[in-house]
């Protein structure tokens, strides 16, 4: 079977099958935000406990497809223990990787190569940019997490 290997990389399937930091946290002390993907009905709940703007704990609830679940799972790993500013910086880099298609779908391949190679597991999600609909899946957890950052900062 050709073509889907880019999307369903082994690391993605692994995060999907064994999601990290799955569950809930009591609110308070945790902050919770919920996100919807109106296209497919998936929803995600992100719970975060902050201490001095450092992400001490994070959990993911809700349900979704392999891409949204794996991406959220990877997100938890990449931001846990980081400050909000650091987390935001990771998000920015991730968003950049995910939006390379928006500029030009056809030149996606080339712009992919320019993505900074420091996103760890998250880089496995590169292949998603070829499937515009799935970008929404991959960014759902992140955008929900971003709402938490927003609510803390304002």
């Amino acid at each position: 079977m050709t073509g889907l290997e880019d999307l369903y990389k082994e690391v993605i399937l692994d995060h999907y099958r064994s999601p990290r930091n799955k569950g809930e946290l009591p609110t308070p002390p945790a902050i919770m935000e919920e996100g919807f993907n109106p296209l497919c009905g998936d929803d995600v709940k992100v719970y975060v406990i902050l201490e001095d703007k450092v992400i001490k704990e994070i959990r993911i609830g809700g349900q979704g497809c392999s891409i949204s679940q794996a991406s959220a799972s990877m997100m938890t790993e990449s931001v846990l223990g980081k400050t909000l500013d650091e987390a935001k910086e990771v998000f920015e880099r991730f968003k950049k990787m995910m939006s390379s298609h928006e500029n030009d779908l056809n030149s996606a391949e080339s712009s992919l190569d320019e993505t900074p190679s420091s996103l760890g597991d998250l880089e496995a999600l590169k292949g998603v940019v070829k499937y515009p609909v799935r970008i929404k899946c991959a960014t759902l957890g992140w955008n929900t997490f971003d709402q938490i950052i927003d609510s803390v900062e304002n």
Partner: protein
């Protein structure tokens, strides 16, 4: 009705899109509940419109404007005959079924319903037949009540008399787009009328597949879209009973819908134009007319027969092949359902399932199918929905089954 003329192989060839490939596989289009493919004659007639008689309608005294106007009004008569309505004045062209339902909500409901009134919705409704009523109920003290469903996604009418108390409007879909359930609409219309309520039938999933007879049905409004019945995008229909439409205030205001305008106010035009503000979707109306003729040529009876047979085959075959790994939601008897197969396959997320299917050229829809309240009742987040139409045949179901099997391998 004669079976002899119905040959999906021949029909398939009349739909140019079905000749293409996706990912090096011939396309297997199983998303007709979302939108149908278009036969070549619909596409070409719209072409011809633009190449030969494109002109704004109803106001031009020149030749091509007369021809365009005549085709638009001829289509109105065609729709009138197609649904066996009382008069062509009852046929209102909208941009889609959603606008048609909103027209009823803004014009009829907002002028007729007051605090304390009740709107009864079936739990099988599409968002387009839910949200307009929720908008209204957030403006006024109008209660929204729901007809419950049984575990297999059929309406539970045990308490219908109780549910109908105080109801002014019953909104029900003829066929569920999410599960394929065929609702006993005629019975519901009668029950509604008994308590003095009107009944709006969402016919989006029935007009493409069965004969529609609004006179027999007895309903007060029906709404449907052209794009699901071999017609183009950008065209929908509201049918309403003449005496009701006549007493409704206009909805959208503007050109076409007026008889006179002064600086002090306006006089609304006669039906049906009273409800058609602005330049109508001319090419789209004409395209819908061709689509209706196309369906009539095949015969609505033959279409239903074909789809029912194909659905039976699918239910049987998928069941045999996948057993408990594959749940086909909704009524189990093909008589009670249209050609909509809402699937759950093991714990493969429907989005992932449809992605793998796409790899094999199979187009199905994953998600809530714009029926979130129903999905919640069914305990589902999303399903993968394969929906059939005239151009599908058993081989399409076979390809679907093979592709499901492949998905199983990836997400083993």
């Amino acid at each position: 009705m004669s079976k002899s003329i119905f040959d999906p192989q021949v029909i398939k060839k009349e739909f140019p899109l079905l000749e293409r490939s996706v990912n090096d596989n011939p396309i297997v289009y199983l998303d007709s509940a979302a939108t149908s493919q278009k036969p070549i004659e619909v596409i070409e007639r719209m072409n011809d419109y633009y190449k030969e008689i494109n002109a704004n309608v109803h106001r031009g005294a020149y030749h091509i404007a007369e021809l365009a106007t005549e085709e638009v009004e001829e289509t109105r008569r065609k729709v009138h005959r197609f649904i066996n309505s009382n008069s062509e004045k009852e046929i209102i062209f909208t941009k889609n079924a959603t606008e048609a339902i909103n027209l009823v909500s803004y014009s009829w409901a907002r002028s007729q319903l007051t605090d304390g009134d009740v709107i009864l919705l079936s739990s099988l409704e599409h968002h387009s037949n839910i949200v307009p009523w929720q908008q209204l109920s957030s403006e006024r003290d109008i209660e929204i009540r729901w007809i419950p469903i049984t575990h297999d996604g059929q309406l539970d009418l045990d308490n219908i008399d109780e549910l109908l108390k105080g109801v002014k409007l019953l909104c029900v879909t003829a066929v569920s787009n999410a599960l394929g359930t065929i609702n006993p609409v005629k019975k519901l219309v009668e029950a509604a009328h008994k308590v003095g309520a009107l009944c709006l039938v969402d016919a989006c999933q029935s007009t493409p597949h069965f004969e529609t007879d609004v006179t027999d049905l007895g309903a007060d409004f029906i709404a449907f879209s052209g794009h699901k019945m071999c017609g183009p995008t950008g065209i929908g229909v509201l049918w309403g009973r003449l005496e009701i439409l006549e007493n409704m205030p206009p909805f959208l205001g503007g050109g076409e819908m007026i008889l006179n305008v002064t600086s002090d106010g306006f006089t609304a035009n006669e039906l049906p134009w009273k409800f058609e503000a602005g330049t109508p979707p001319i090419a789209e109306i004409i395209g819908l007319g061709v689509a209706i003729s196309y369906l009539e040529k095949i015969g609505m009876g033959a279409i239903r027969e074909h789809e029912q047979k194909l659905t039976s085959y699918a239910l049987q075959m998928l069941n045999d092949r996948f057993g408990n790994d594959l749940i086909i939601h909704g009524p189990q008897n093909p008589i009670d359902r249209s050609g909509v197969l809402s699937l759950s396959y093991r714990d493969v997320h429907p989005h992932d399932l449809s992605q793998v299917l796409d790899q094999y050229g199979v187009c199905v829809r994953a998600g809530h199918h714009c029926c979130k309240p129903l999905m919640k009742l069914m305990g589902l987040n999303a399903t993968a929905r394969a929906s059939l139409y005239i151009y599908n045949d058993e081989s399409d179901i076979d390809v679907l089954a093979d592709a499901i099997n492949e998905a199983g391998k990836i997400f083993a």
